[in-house]
């Protein structure tokens, strides 16, 4: 009796597994990570660069304006290169530049900004690199352009002349 119950139970379990696998076969499994097309801003909580206060992402991206999120670090050489473009972008009034300071030494970061000037409206800290992961960043530097609380463009690597002109076009 016990064996009968056990065996029929096992048969049912295996049949269920069969059905799930069968259905799984029909699902397409070609997974493409979707890049930049109108993705929502990730939700995160982070510490400010200049103070020990915490801020939530919803309080950073408050209105429907343009934002640039730039992941940077003082040890990152290409960040130095692209910095001049960020400084140029600073003068556009409908654009806010948010810096995410990625896995950096705070003192070095401050020296970096003193030396090259600070284009950022807000800087938040990402000491362990988790926020960059939330954004789906591949590395440093990386830049996201945000409008109406959606990510509309993503630049992997330093901003160059072409990117700079593109950004100018987008925000105007």
């Amino acid at each position: 009796m016990k064996i009968k119950i056990l065996s029929s139970f096992l048969v049912i379990v295996f049949l269920l597994i069969f059905i799930v696998f069968y259905k799984g076969l029909k699902n397409s499994n070609i997974y493409t990570p979707d890049v930049d097309i109108e993705k929502d801003i990730p939700f995160f909580k982070a510490q400010f660069f200049n103070s020990s206060n915490q801020i939530k992402s919803v309080n950073i991206f408050t209105d429907d304006n343009f934002y640039i999120v730039n992941i940077w670090s003082s040890w990152c050489v290409p960040c130095r290169e692209e910095h001049s473009f960020l400084v140029k972008l600073k003068k556009y009034k409908n654009l806010k530049i948010i810096g995410i300071n990625y896995k950096d030494n705070l003192d070095n970061a401050k020296i970096f900004l003193n030396e090259l000037s600070d284009p950022y409206d807000t800087i938040i800290l990402d000491q362990d690199g988790t926020i960059a992961i939330e954004w789906g960043a591949y590395g440093v530097p990386e830049t996201f352009i945000i409008n109406k609380k959606k990510i509309i463009k993503k630049i992997i690597g330093p901003i160059n002349e072409i990117n700079f002109l593109e950004i100018k076009e987008i925000i105007q």
């Binding site: 065996s7 799930v20 259905k23 799984g24 076969l25 699902n27 499994n29 070609i30 050489v77």
Partner: protein, 625 residues
Amino acid sequence: MSSLIGLYSLFFGFSFSFLIVLNSVKNFRDTKNFDNRIIFLTFLQFFFVIVSFLGLIASFISSDFSNETVFNHSHTTKPLFYKISGTWGNHEGSLLLWLFVLTFFLLLFLLRSKNQPKRYRILTLLFQQIIIIGFFIFIIKTSNPFNYIFPVPSEGLGLNPILQDPALAIHPPILYLGYVGSSIIFSSTLSATALNYISKEWAIHIKQWVLVSWIFLTLGILLGSIWAYYELGWGGFWFWDPVENVSLMPWLALTTLFHCILVLEKRLILTSWVIILSISTFTLSMCGTFLVRSGILNSVHTFANDPERGLFILIFLFCLIFLSLFIFFFFHKIKRNDSDSFFWLSKESSILINNWFMMYFLSVVLIGTVYPIFLDVLSSKKISVGPPFYNKLIIPFLIPFLLAMAIGPKLKWIKSNLKNKFNLILLLVISLLISILITNNLDDGFLINTILITSSFYLFFITLRDLISRKFKNLSQNIAHFGFSLLILSILFNNIFSTEIITNLKIGESFQSKNFKINFEKVERKDKQNFKSIIGKFNIENSNGTIDQLNPELRIYNQPNIVTSEADIKTNIFTDKFITMNLVQNQEYFNIRYQIKPLMIWIWISVLLISFGGLISLFKKKYEN
């Protein structure tokens, strides 16, 4: 031409299945003695499959692009070695290899089982033929390696460059020997169950097959792991990738099965364990084939995704599962006898305890592997299960597992007392002290790391003491367990003390860190037969004044046009220095990843030791003690 011979041989081989089945059924019913004609027929089947396989190899060597498989996976500029290994570097060819090993092992089984009962031999042969027929139909119907294309293309598409590697050329055949060996265990167990022949004699006979498959499976996994370490440029040796998991699961089942068979051989208990484990080892191997080949899982392994193939293996797999369930429930009589009881402190109970742990590890890996599929089907959410899941669920349970592994072999069968308690406790204290010394400077995970390292050191010292001091009563077990402790220790230290630097550098720049300075001196270009290579010259100045030259490489293959990154690794007995470079697009920067990984080589050595232990056991007549 060779394709044509291959194709016809395949059909001939298939037709022999029917002859064999017919003869076997007749022999099973009528005569008293085993009919040696069956062995001859099996040999012919094996012969035709090998001709078919050689035919495919010949087509690869001669770059015969009228053959679709060759066209898809080969290229004239490929070195000869990779032309040959390309034969099984693809779905169709690897199935033919599988079939080749299946028929070979069946022949070997028939030749090696002469003093077993006739009915048992024939029934095993029949079950094995079911599997062989299944594979023949699968190959001919969905994955024929000899499809003809016309007009004949002048050039092939080439083999994926990351597969053009010596370790990966021999990795599939070795792994398949392990997988397919488990098919013999499966058939043999089913027939022994059906004939009520599960006995001590049977255990001794099947133990050899378990060991052979286990050794090959271990080596196969090791090769794959070594390949992943130096070829994928990530610096790790185990990704918990679904395809790795599907090779680990049969390994866990097989390891458990081996220990059960030792108990069975000694005391004729745990028969249900043995049957269930034999069935699950093979079904897990098949399940692995299904998961990899059907494209139901996302994985780093590149195989063609074809739902029709998946469906076939799925149906075949479940037919086998239901067949085994039927045999298990209808034929297996659980014998109750006096020796069925366990005394808590005995060798068999410690084996049983660790069997449960192994089953637990197996279920963790199984759930981690198939849960994403279930979730996707049931709620269409996509998740990916990664290392943290496995680490959290497996690592804590390694502690009692290691301790039982250390104490268990010291115990006697049936009932025992611990001797030398003082020594055992002394060793435990020593291990604890050493590990505290090591973990003292750690920032986090102090407690868990200390306990883990203590228990692995404990196993390490106990097995080491036995190795040095003893009489070699049970050398195989000793070496394998010693190897396992070494493996866990190396993995732990490797995880805890690895350092990694990722940075972007231009030629001529350098990167300074606390303990070393990386100088990127120059790059050199070279042209090879089927790729161009860019070799980076790096100069690493260590804080102790020594200088390492490391030359990672970027290879730009012509066909298919793929860039691969070859790591350069400096190995010595203490640490590996591992460097890779990658192109950063449209820039003059190279992305440099530099890692210092302690005890890397000991991971490989310990796995070799583990399989060496198995090898010794294979040549030992009887399990002593």
